[in-house]
């Protein structure tokens, strides 16, 4: 007989792992499906100092603690990519109201529970989660797919990953000591990356396609004051040049249209993040940016499917809000299951 889960959680980052903890503590049968390494975005953070109750912890340690907590409670984890979600429904027969005479002589109207068209113990209503490593049947689904770093989508980007192109300044900056690098982006990550790299690199260029930076003004001011940092606004990246490794950037002035080349040893990409919910777009509503439409109650438009963490529409994306969503989604799943079991 196929195993039936109470909750299948797609994604084992902070939101997914928290949902697994709450789900297990409520006695639910929980499976997490993760396509990469568990822990999510926070694994890359060297130091987390703003999680309430934890003075300072490495991102890796935080993620590992969450993982041990969830799996220690009995949550299962499988490495796979979810390809689609298929609704399972069975024909429900609602018996007519019966008039029954009780021992006290009074006749009462009784509505019996619905009968399902097949009387074995298979899942009557729920979801089939199709993945690259098998299919899973479940009563509810929690989508906790987070976000991924946005790619440039310029030829050469794939080839030179680790050979001049990086998406994590704190991870890879050490390898560019006394070299010339560029950071592309206009938000907080780009500015923070540039500030970090300016400590070890000979020269840091900050390339931004608009005139104004979206990031923190104080960081911007500090950067401008540094001798080895040069800000190039209104500058668009049009191409990447190099042989075995990245050697130069092809740039264009957005105002004059003039093309120019900048020789660099490395390029750090910090152009934002985007969700990865394409596999679910026929089942749950997505907003124009691809985030799953759900608010603080974590409910999506699909019955029994909940969204938790960075992957849903929200204003604040932090560890705390991801953990909050995991809690709420797990609770909502439990209530949904209980309600369904009562035949309503």
């Amino acid at each position: 007989m196929t195993e039936i889960y109470d909750v299948v959680i797609v994604g084992a980052g902070t939101a997914g792992l928290t949902a697994a903890i709450y789900g297990r503590r409520a006695g639910l049968k929980v499976l997490m499906i993760e396509e990469g390494i568990y822990g999510g975005q926070i694994v890359n953070a060297q130091s987390v100092e703003n999680y309430p109750g934890i003075m300072k912890i490495s991102g890796y340690q935080f993620a590992n603690n969450l993982y041990e907590q969830a799996t220690g409670l009995g949550a299962e984890l499988v490495t796979a990519t979810v390809t689609s979600l298929i609704r399972i429904t069975a024909e429900k027969i609602i018996p007519p109201v019966k008039q029954i005479q009780f021992e006290d002589g009074v006749t009462r109207s009784i509505q019996f529970d619905p009968i399902y068209s097949d009387s074995n113990r298979e899942l009557k209503e729920g979801w089939e989660v199709k993945t690259t490593a098998g299919d899973y049947k479940t009563r509810t689904v929690i989508l906790a797919t987070g976000v991924k770093k946005r790619k440039l989508e310029i030829p050469g980007e794939e080839n030179w990953l680790g050979k001049g192109i990086s998406y994590c300044a704190t991870c890879d900056g050490a390898f560019y000591k006394d070299r010339t690098v560029a950071v592309i982006g206009g938000g907080n990550t780009a500015l923070a990356d540039a500030e970090y790299l300016a400590q070890t690199c000979k020269k840091v260029y900050v390339i931004h396609r608009s005139r104004v930076f979206r990031g923190d003004l104080d960081t911007e001011k500090r950067l401008k004051a540094k001798d080895n940092v040069e800000m190039r606004v209104n500058t668009i990246l049009t191409g990447l040049e190099g042989d075995e490794r990245l050697e130069a950037l092809k740039l264009r002035d957005a105002l004059t249209g003039a093309d120019w080349e900048l020789q660099v040893d490395g390029l750090f990409v910090a152009i934002g993040q985007e969700p990865a919910n394409k596999a679910f777009r026929s089942v749950v509503q997505l907003d124009p940016q691809g985030y799953i439409m759900a608010d603080e109650d974590c409910k999506t438009n699909a019955p029994g499917i909940f969204a938790a963490g960075d992957c849903r529409t929200k204003q604040v994306r932090q560890l705390t809000t991801a953990a909050a969503d995991g809690t709420i989604a797990a609770r909502a799943a439990r209530i949904y299951i209980n309600t369904k079991q009562k035949g309503r």
Binding site: G36, G39, V43, Y60, T79, G162, K163, G164, F175, Y176
Partner: protein, 103 residues
């Protein structure tokens, strides 16, 4: 087989002059994803006895990392008959690491 830490001194003998296929794990203590795959590499070294697994701490061996053009960690490089066969930049789950080594 446990994963041995090596450096410039013994890279030649431990990696380039070895008969077996060798997987070199370039890592550092401050790198989260490196710490994630560390235990996976240890497990694979027990499960795949036909392959030799070693690790290089890039903080201690920056020159060695530079020599093999390692600019992002974790990086796994597979060596056979003294030459680099292929490399993987970035962390992967255990099944994917195994597939990368085997194929």
């Amino acid at each position: 087989m446990a994963v041995k830490q090596i450096g410039t001194d013994n890279f030649e003998t431990e990696v380039l002059q070895t008969e077996k296929k060798v997987v070199v794990d370039f890592w550092a203590g401050w790198c989260g994803p490196c710490q994630m795959i560390g235990p996976l590499i240890e497990q694979l070294s027990e499960e795949m006895p036909e392959i030799k697994f070693v690790k290089v701490n890039v903080d201690d061996e920056l020159e060695l990392a530079g020599k093999y053009k390692v600019e992002s960690i974790p990086t796994l490089i597979v060596f056979a008959a003294g030459k680099e066969v292929k490399r993987q930049v970035g962390a992967l789950p255990k099944t994917a690491i195994r597939q990368f080594i085997e194929n």
